[in-house]
């Protein structure tokens, strides 16, 4: 270990586990809801588990099940659910500067486990601590996801097995925005980040008419451009701030 690498991977892993662990409070119930919804829709336990283990993306899975219940064409089910997941490609791009140097098998595993909470928690840590080595960054990411992914599988299994034994009206739906927006507050440090949030929200609401959730992507690209532009603008106004 060199002085420029103050956080060894092992410690980074435990920090990730500590920072990501509490997300099981939301991921567990969310998995439970998916398990109940999927089995009530007519999927057997094996199919429900395959869904959660192979796709591991709750919002897209719920969107797919809803359309399958409505007997939508298979192509529409696929397009809609994958559109919900298009944001993952943006996450993937933003992780390149941090994790691009990791071995291919690690990048593949990171990609498989790329859920919003793990991504955002890790990204925040990488931005806060640019001195982290690639190995420490990878270890941190795996620490964050260590409890989240298994609890997602187990939540789904419990929902699929218990099914109607659980009251159908678990008020998890309303709590989902809380779990996502909790990731955002800690990230807001500059005017540029606040501007990006505003453009993201107003843009998505204004573009709600666009099909397959594509309004979100347009709004997100506009929000990224806004953040970058405001960053450049504020740096020009206060040149001494720029190191």
């Amino acid at each position: 270990m060199t002085p420029s690498d103050p956080t060894p991977p092992r410690r980074a892993y435990w920090q990730g586990l500590r920072d990501g662990g509490p997300f099981i409070l939301i991921v567990g119930p969310f998995g439970l809801v998916f398990g109940i919804v999927a089995t009530e829709a007519g999927l057997n336990v094996l199919q429900t588990m395959a869904f959660s283990i192979a796709v591991i993306a709750g919002a897209a899975q719920l969107a797919a099940i809803q359309l399958m219940v409505d007997d939508a064409p298979t192509l529409i089910v696929l397009i809609t659910a994958l559109a919900v997941n298009l944001r993952m490609a943006m996450y993937s791009a933003s992780l390149v500067p941090h994790l691009g140097a990791a071995p291919l098998w690690q990048r593949a595993l990171i990609a498989y486990l790329m859920v919003d909470q793990a991504y955002a928690t890790s990204f925040l840590r990488y931005e806060r601590d640019p001195g982290l080595s690639v190995r420490a960054k990878v270890a941190y990411y795996f620490g964050v996801i260590t409890l989240v992914a298994p609890v997602w599988y187990l939540g789904t299994l419990a929902g699929a097995l218990l099914g109607e034994a659980i009251p159908a009206s678990i008020p998890i739906g309303a709590a989902v925005p809380i779990a996502f927006l909790a990731l955002i507050g800690p990230m807001l440090r500059t005017l540029a980040q606040v501007a990006a949030v505003l453009v993201s929200v107003l843009g998505t609401l204004a573009l709600g008419f666009m099909p397959y959730n594509t309004g979100l992507l347009v709004a997100a690209l506009a929000a990224m451009a806004t953040g970058a532009a405001v960053e450049v603008w504020t740096a020009r106004r206060r040149p001494q701030v720029r190191a």
Partner: protein
């Protein structure tokens, strides 16, 4: 649902492949090649550009009866963001938001 067993499995398999493809895309294909500075600057705003927009339609969904968004959810979102800003910690933010949501829902 009137889908056949094979169609259900086909949907699961294609969704799994497609989702992995999206997640692996840039991280897998670009790897260690350097990115231009302007692109890095854009990418730094990815989480704050995506996640608020992802949740906005649900947060601001108008109640059919009142014609307004759900005040309990709005209050909980404000608490979540405020505690997140204050404590710089997502877990405290989530707990504050959940508690506020439960309280405001109970009071309704």
């Amino acid at each position: 649902m009137s889908l056949s067993q094979s169609t259900i499995w086909l949907i699961i398999a294609l969704l799994a492949l497609g989702t992995f493809g999206l997640r692996f895309s840039f991280l897998g294909l670009i790897g260690n090649r350097p990115l231009p500075e302007w692109l890095l600057r854009l990418l730094r705003y990815t989480p704050v550009a995506v996640i608020p927009g992802l949740m906005a339609p649900q947060v601001f969904r108008l109640n059919a009866a009142t014609g307004w968004p759900d005040p309990a959810l709005l209050g909980a979102v404000v608490a979540t963001l405020a505690v997140g800003l204050w404590r710089r910690n997502a877990i405290w933010a989530m707990l504050a938001g959940a508690l506020t949501l439960a309280l405001l829902t109970a009071l309704r």
